[in-house]
Symmetry: C2
Subunit: 347 residues, 2 copies
DNA sequence: ATGAAAGCGCTAACAT
DNA sequence: ATGTTAGCGCTTTCAT
């Protein structure tokens, strides 16, 4: 078990490199940092030594000394929702090139887990944070401001924290989706929405209502049921809807997971889509085209959302005192057949 | 921009806590580490000071000194595949309690990105690594052994590296799936498999062949087409199959993404499932029940795979020289209707 | 262009 | 039970 004395299988340090290259550790450090003022010849010798020893700097030590690490935290509500992982992918694509590493955490909607992630991030000396806030009960984003940690929020604004924010035009796209349904002749429409407390829910509902108003239809042409953004919730909401004496003609479901549940409820009742009931989902997921009929959905540019958030964070890192900026990305209604349209048709 | 001199909004250090509590930094350190030999009264004062100052230890400094960080790397081939994120979730569940944080990376199947993750992990001083190896061309897992980084592999063995491994009984479950199809009366069966070079592909093929042999059927009752584990690949493979003069009666598709593609190809030809062609997938995903008919699939316990990997890693951390262990988790055939069975029927 | 040396915040060995 | 102190591996003045 004990290592033979004198052998040196331990990780090489900067000192080993310096010794091997016949220079001082300061020179090694400079070469590695790519700082001007490093002799061409010395540089070469250092690089050779690095290669020979398979030297990789200790990032903890570097971070400790430099008081800043090339580390960006990403905290998400849920790793199982492809919308969020798509987002994470976008963040990574953008940040990787800038030499940052991601510290990814998810909180399953639990504010205390979320807070724990914040504390770790702080402890790790993360340079910034990209956050999809849970905004759950008891969530507290104030410490982030106090720590002066650069934050950019995605998809929702963190309650009580004014920071850079990227999201999508939820209102406009919900409006477009409902407008589309109306144009197709559907009248009794229902929105299976997310929790009432979420901004995105509020926005999507507002958009849907606008579409109804635009068309000069009575407000009660649109019914709303609030659910929880989960598959099971979508199932139950749809079940309940289909149990009513008067079945809706069309549903707009406010996220991908609930759409799955709603679809199952429809199938179990042996209803045909779109003849018996038309369906439009939010989030265009890989499975949308595997369904029959394929699903019409509001496509949210998840990856681009992530990329935008990342570049916003990079900007802020460069200019910490800048006033918070909001950017809104456009969603796109991807028309397929579940809404009752012929493929490609977009009235 | 410049901070007023004398003010102290900077992060509190252990020294600030010590001062406020009227003890030495060593005592603070001991209290925080929960080490015996800390006076009850001193302990209380320290904790109060920590709370008052909102002190959080600098993890870089701690890691530097202790030469070990409570950090576990997880590197995955793909963040968009729910199988892998389910796995990550399982890992986190298990490791979180043990006080570890995850450093999650994905490589999109690219060995160089994979290697970069390894280097970062090493640089960060990660205590261990949970790896789903890409095993792509040029992938080299040798450095991991050289660094003596505890590794546990999941789903596939890293080429050239003998480490702890968790995977599923791919062979047995493929065999069961095909047996099921045969029992249902299907004869011309095709397996849309992953890349030939992958162990999982080899295993699943072997299992499928065994089922055919078990049933006393001629070997050519089972055809195989190799694809790439992606949606598009599944689509193309199925397209090609359906273009043949003699259409297969049933397909087993070797992962969730390819199943999506295959389904789309089937729908586009207006074929009915399971009357015209029966379908069994690998990976039981949330969308399986939203399909009509709902999908019969080999359910892989992704989360449990992750949890098992994590606990294996914890074991190894405790006992580094232990001989590598393999654990195999059972898959379960989730029978629904796409295979032609009546729900619940399992011949 | 290069080196010597201070010290980042913490833990652990040693002293009391 | 508690304090003093020596570094962990690195970056960064300050000399030269």
């Amino acid at each position: 078990m004990a290592r033979a004395r004198g052998s040196k299988p331990a990780r090489p340090t900067i000192r080993d490199v310096a010794e091997k290259a016949g220079v001082s550790i300061a020179t090694v450090s400079r070469v590695l940092a790519g700082i001007a003022g490093a002799g061409a010849e010395a540089k070469e010798r250092v690089l050779a030594a690095v290669e020979a020893l398979q030297y990789h700097p200790d990032l903890s030590a570097r971070g400790l000394r430099a008081r800043q690490r090339k580390l960006i935290g990403v905290v998400l509500p849920d790793l199982q929702n492809p919308f969020f992982t798509g987002l994470a992918q976008g963040v990574e694509e953008e940040l990787c090139d800038a030499g940052f590493t991601l510290l990814l955490g998810h909180c399953d909607g639990k504010p205390d887990r979320e807070r724990r992630h914040f504390e770790v991030l702080r402890g790790e000396g993360a340079a910034g944070l990209i956050l999809v806030p849970s905004n759950g009960p008891g969530a507290d984003y104030a410490p982030l401001a106090q720590w002066e940690l650069p934050v950019v929020a995605v998809d929702r604004a963190p309650r009580g924290l004014d920071v850079d924010l990227v999201n999508t035009d939820n209102r406009a796209s919900a409006r477009e989706a409902v407008r589309h349904l109306i144009a197709l002749g559907h009248r009794e429409i229902v929105l299976i929405n997310g929790p009432e407390a979420f901004d995105v829910s509020v926005e999507r509902l507002a958009g849907a209502r606008e579409a109804v108003a635009d068309a000069g239809l009575p407000p009660d042409s649109l019914a709303v049921v609030h659910s929880d953004f989960h598959q099971d919730g979508g199932f139950k909401a749809m079940e309940q809807l289909l149990g009513r004496p008067q079945r809706p003609h069309a549903v707009l479901v406010a996220n991908n997971l609930m759409t799955l549940g709603a679809l199952q409820a429809i199938h179990e009742r042996r209803l045909r889509i779109p003849e018996d009931i038309a369906v439009v989902g939010f989030d265009d997921m890989p499975w949308a085209t595997a369904l029959w009929p394929p699903l019409t959905a509001v496509a949210q540019p998840a990856t681009e959302l992530g990329r935008t958030a990342a570049s916003l964070l990079l900007d802020r890192l460069a200019e910490p005192r800048r006033v918070p900026r909001h950017v809104i990305l456009r969603n796109r209604l991807q028309v397929r057949a579940s809404c009752g349209a012929r493929a490609g048709q977009n009235p």
